[in-house]
């Protein structure tokens, strides 16, 4: 069975400014980021749809001890998208040393950054979703 929206195809659409997920034709759920099947009901009856990229932070942390290839501190958060789906992203334009629980519930706009891979990325670049606080 053919994969509906592979990471590579998803990334091509992001590079073209479109944030794409899968809408289930059986239950209506939007799966973002994409998977083989609907995240809610497991159906493979899926359409590719573009989402607004607007969402809300549900939790976060500031990472101080960071992996090889990264420089800290930086803030990572989980955000629920308004159309459905949850993403992990780097939070932009905040002071990593000053963020606190007030970050939960903030409205964010999805973005991305792409940078060099390492020995674990299969010869590919790395991509990280980003979250910019809008209100």
């Amino acid at each position: 069975m053919e994969y509906k929206l592979t990471f590579t195809a998803w990334r091509d659409r992001i590079r073209a400014g479109k944030y794409s997920g899968l809408k289930c034709k059986d239950c209506g759920t939007i799966t973002f980021p994409p998977r083989m099947v609907c995240s809610e009901c497991g159906s493979v009856n899926l359409d590719i749809v573009d989402v607004s990229g607007k969402g809300k932070i549900v939790t976060f942390t500031t990472c101080y001890a960071v992996p090889t290839g990264y420089s800290g501190p930086f803030v990572v958060a989980m955000a629920d998208l308004v159309e459905g789906g949850r993403v992990m992203g780097d939070v932009l334009d905040v002071d990593p040393n000053k963020v606190g629980l007030e970050l939960i519930g903030k409205n964010v706009q999805l973005g991305y950054k792409e940078f060099a891979g390492d020995y674990m990325t299969g010869g590919d670049t790395r991509l990280a979703l980003t979250l910019k606080i809008i209100s």
Binding site: T61, T62, C63, D90, L127
Partner: protein, 390 residues
């Protein structure tokens, strides 16, 4: 299914192994378990090895086969099981199935890891690969970071102010070290003060150094066998009365990090198989890789109501001598966490607690014990319930 028993257990001291490889550590723990069971290696019919990163840390693949040869097993099936930090308990679950089905009568479940040889930043990158490798890992999220996000969500959900929650987390760390100080196998055999906790470096807010378990080396092993064999080998056989295991994807695929769903599915399976409830448990070894993880696990296992694990801890209920002693061994926090070895080391502690041979850290009269082991982004969780078999 046939009844399944533990005849003997073994483990190395946990900590930094300067010279011994993970295979050599495995050999020591395995022979301790086999000797304690009054067996010879040739009696073992299959080998299960829990191991997460032996390939990257020390350049060993086909690890289970090398391990079997290391202790002179006679060309038996040898299987490596990888579920990140839950690998050891996953090995026990699979060993259980071989005995329960009647396919074998005596097998060895084991785990080993040598993590300290990898520099911390590289180990942090390695653990980062436990997230979805394309949609999540690129953020640079660290392993402590996942539990830090659990912690912030827990604080927000239950409206427990972060300074209050951190007081509870400090109590977890102090209890772990208090117990570990009485465990000759523990990596850190000394108590810590509140001041040391408060002043420790920030790792992933709000988790500080003393909220985190260490990076460790070590190995552990358990002879798993049929009832008939166990009764012949030892007068204190321990029965495995329940096993459970469940999985989840990365954090993007989960909703409520204060209640990892895989744990609830796994432990309920184990309780059901055993015909027991949380009230029947006398002693628990659970996955305190970070202090918040102990509080969250104590609730998910059904030991305390959701949102009240910290209060139970503050009342002393999880101390040795309390109503529900948790991690008398010192837990991952003080005993150490050589990833693949952890689940079987938890079993080692429970088996010895049920036998009543834990000295100063003994939970008096313990008859039934529970283990809980969590791997990856709350992604692989397995539970075992042990009961006195005599």
């Amino acid at each position: 299914m046939r009844e399944v028993y533990v005849a003997g257990v073994g483990m190395t001291k946990f900590g930094r192994s300067e010279f011994k490889s993970q295979l050599e550590l495995f050999g020591e723990a395995a022979m301790d378990a086999i000797n304690e069971s009054n067996l010879k290696p040739k009696d073992i019919e299959a080998l299960f090895v829990g191991n997460a990163n032996g390939d990257i840390n020390e350049g060993i693949t086909v690890l289970a086969s090398h391990a079997a040869a290391e202790i002179g097993l006679n060309h038996v099936p040898a299987i490596k099981l990888e579920g990140a930090c839950s690998s050891g308990t996953v090995a026990i679950v699979n060993a259980f199935m071989w005995i329960a089905s009647g396919y074998a009568d005596i097998v060895l479940a084991s785990g080993c890891e040598r993590n300290t040889v990898t520099p911390t930043a590289d180990a942090t990158r390695l653990m980062n690969s436990g997230n979805h490798h394309r949609y999540e890992a690129g953020t640079g999220i660290t392993f402590p970071g996942l539990f830090a996000m659990m912690c912030h969500m827990y604080s927000h959900k239950y409206n427990i102010p972060l300074p209050q929650l951190k007081e509870y987390m400090c109590m977890v760390a102090m209890k772990a070290h208090k117990n570990g100080a009485k465990n000759p196998k523990a990596q850190f055999q000394k108590e810590i003060t509140r001041e040391q906790y408060v002043n420790s470096a920030m790792i992933a807010s709000p988790l500080q150094m003393f909220d985190c378990c260490p990076i460790s080396d070590g190995a552990s092993a358990m002879v798993v066998c049929s009832k008939e064999v166990a009764k012949k080998l030892t007068n204190k056989p321990v029965q495995i009365v329940g096993v459970g295991q469940a999985s989840s994807g990365g954090l993007s695929t989960q909703k409520d990090y204060s209640r990892p769903i895989a744990r609830e599915i796994s432990v309920q399976k184990a309780y059901k198989m055993a015909g027991l409830t949380p009230k029947d448990i006398n002693v628990v070894e659970l996955h305190d890789c970070f202090t918040i993880a102990e509080i969250v696990a104590s609730e998910g296992l059904g030991l305390f109501d959701f949102g009240t694990g910290g209060q139970a801890l503050a009342r002393g209920e999880t101390q040795i001598g309390g109503r529900m002693p948790i991690n008398p061994s010192g837990g991952l926090k003080s005993k150490g966490h050589p990833v693949g070895a952890t689940g079987i080391a938890q079993g080692y502690e429970i088996v010895n607690q049920l036998r009543g041979i834990c000295g100063q850290r003994q939970v008096e009269g313990a008859k039934i014990g529970l283990t809980d082991t969590l791997g990856g982004p709350f992604a692989s969780i397995a539970n075992i319930i042990y009961k006195r078999g005599w």
